[in-house]
Symmetry: none
């Protein structure tokens, strides 16, 4: 992806709310020498954030260029509105995870054209300023949700902020954003919770059998319940719509288990296809590999000969798949190799008598 | 923890089914210089496994000491039964993920006292011999499920196999195993699938907002659907029981979203508590069990004698762990029993000549 050179971000940036996100923003901006001021209802949070190098405590006579509101969702509308009123030249953004309701709440306020919402898709099951990190946003999407009333300059400054933090700004409408996070964040959170909740029923040493699959699927269920109560409450309608579809599928699974393999298989396949849609699922694997197809006769030793010929060509096999099409005299092997060397391998194998192609 | 040295594992070990698990077993055993023979309905799989160093292709005149059946679940009973009949001195084990039905199916067969089921809690969303690794089982639980009819020597050899592979053998009843895997593996798989299935509904660039939470919760949904159809089908009843409780919670969430924070908070908290119970997460065992330590001489049959003496004392074994410590003549078994009966077990075992303590 081409990178956009961010403009210099003029400070000072006032961070209101020195939790995980606010303090991480402060740390990352300080690494760019942007002036950062810190404010929090709990003075202890400011102290911790300041001691970690995220900026300095706010003093009254400083006028911020940009205010970043990183308070709990329920408080966000009031704090954004207050910031717009108090600093009449400042741009204001926030980081709460649900955007449409907040945008509506702010729309009536004086100066709402200086407000553009934001939502970094980064977090941790840990919270608070001690868990903060300047790298928290590196490579992560940062949704930016201007309203039709937002000034272009306000949008620019929020995009620049995201770029300064190493994030990838993704501009979308607030309502579309909320439907998207229901799907990629809020519903997965509920599903993780529902999975983990059942572990309370475990007998004896059952949980000694836990493997990485259980740990992965339940990791986010360890997150702060109060925060999630808040997030889910503010996006209740979109989350409910998705969960009702989940319930339909769940009913289908319960009904078809051990009874109707076709129905159960349809749900399993639908899940498998869903994972294919997640960008960057394999790291960057899809782009990192070339595929080479080779015809292989159904005779003992052919596959070994293919692997040995591939090895002799100096190309490293990253993956090898076979089409198990029983009864055909010739099968197809798909060899994945590092990007850029696929053509070399085709040439080398062809020279040794194989039918190979990309 | 002190550990029991695994006895030398006498070969040859015949691996039937050269997929991910079978080939990984072969690779790990070859690293211990155990003779490994490979058999698969697809000769191509044997070729790949052999070329990777997992053993050599089976030839008819070799008599295996141990047969490890690593075929798809639906085929396991037939292959285990056939192996017991064909090699009348061999011990037989398997690696399928559901145990009670298979144990019942094998019980009637000639030589079923030479069979002890097993289930390594290890895998990958990739499959096939190319994905195999000698390290696949390192530190992972390996459930070992003897039946009341199993010969002590058969249990010993399967425990030794698990120890050779670097796994932690956990001896439990087949039915308890199946309830446990419904909870820690099969239901998480379904939940991951249901979460991922919804991604097919995503609009526009919604999925650009995907973060690590989504990736973690949906990773296992990318697994082979056919294999999971098979696994879920063989454990349908236990999986259904858990999923019905999940549905109750899901209904509660759908109903309380944005309406009843107390009800929603109760579910979220229950999930958070559930994650605390996963062993290894905070490094401590749930505290509802008593631990009893017993010195065990490194002689064949000692472990079986310990289990039989424990059984005779009327105490139910919830968990039994052994670890590696090569070269020590005496090892330590840690037996977990229900809270409050640990002292009784120590007394009973001491009376029978064991060195046991809490």
């Amino acid at each position: 992806m081409t990178a956009i050179a961010p403009h210099a971000l003029p400070g000072p940036v006032l961070v209101i709310g020195c939790g995980l996100i606010g303090t991480s923003v402060g740390l990352a901006l300080r690494a760019h020498d942007v002036e950062v001021l810190l404010l929090d209802a709990l003075p202890a949070n400011v102290e911790v954030a300041e001691s970690r190098g995220a900026g300095r405590a706010f003093v009254d006579d400083v006028v911020p260029h940009l205010v970043l509101v990183a308070v709990p969702p329920v408080a966000a509308a009031a704090v954004v509105t207050e910031a717009l009123a108090r600093w009449s030249d400042a741009f204001v953004t926030d980081v709460t995870s649900v955007k449409a309701g907040l945008q509506r709440a702010v729309a009536a306020a004086q100066g709402s054209d200086r407000y553009v919402g934001g939502h970094p898709m980064a977090g941790s099951e840990r919270s608070g300023p001690m868990a903060a990190s300047a790298q928290l946003f590196e490579g992560r999407p940062w949704a930016v949700t201007p309203s039709p009333e937002s000034r272009p300059a306000a949008l620019d400054v929020v995009v620049d902020l995201a770029l300064h933090l190493g994030a990838v700004p993704i501009i979308m409408e607030a309502a579309a954003h909320d439907r998207a996070v229901a799907l990629v964040s809020h519903v997965p959170q509920v599903m993780s919770t529902l999975t983990a909740a059942r572990l309370n029923d475990a007998e004896g040493n059952s949980l000694a059998l836990a493997g990485p699959g259980l740990r992965d699927t339940t990791r986010i269920a360890a997150s702060d319940s109060a925060l999630w109560l808040d997030i889910l409450g503010t996006n209740a309608q979109d989350v409910r719509s998705v969960l009702e579809l989940v319930r339909d599928d769940l009913d289908r699974v319960i009904k078809s288990l051990g009874e109707d393999d076709e129905a159960l298989g349809t749900v399993l396949e639908s899940g498998r296809r869903g994972t294919d849609l997640i960008p960057g699922k394999h790291g960057s694997q899809p782009d990192r590999l070339d595929s080479v197809h080779v015809q292989v006769a159904d005779r003992p030793g052919e596959l070994s000969r293919l692997m040995s010929d591939t090895g002799a060509s100096g190309v490293n096999i990253e993956d090898l798949r076979l089409d198990h099409d029983l009864g055909r005299p010739v099968g197809l092997a798909e060899i994945a190799v590092a990007r850029g060397v696929g053509d070399d391998l085709v040439a080398a194998l062809t020279a040794r008598g194989w039918t190979a192609y990309r």
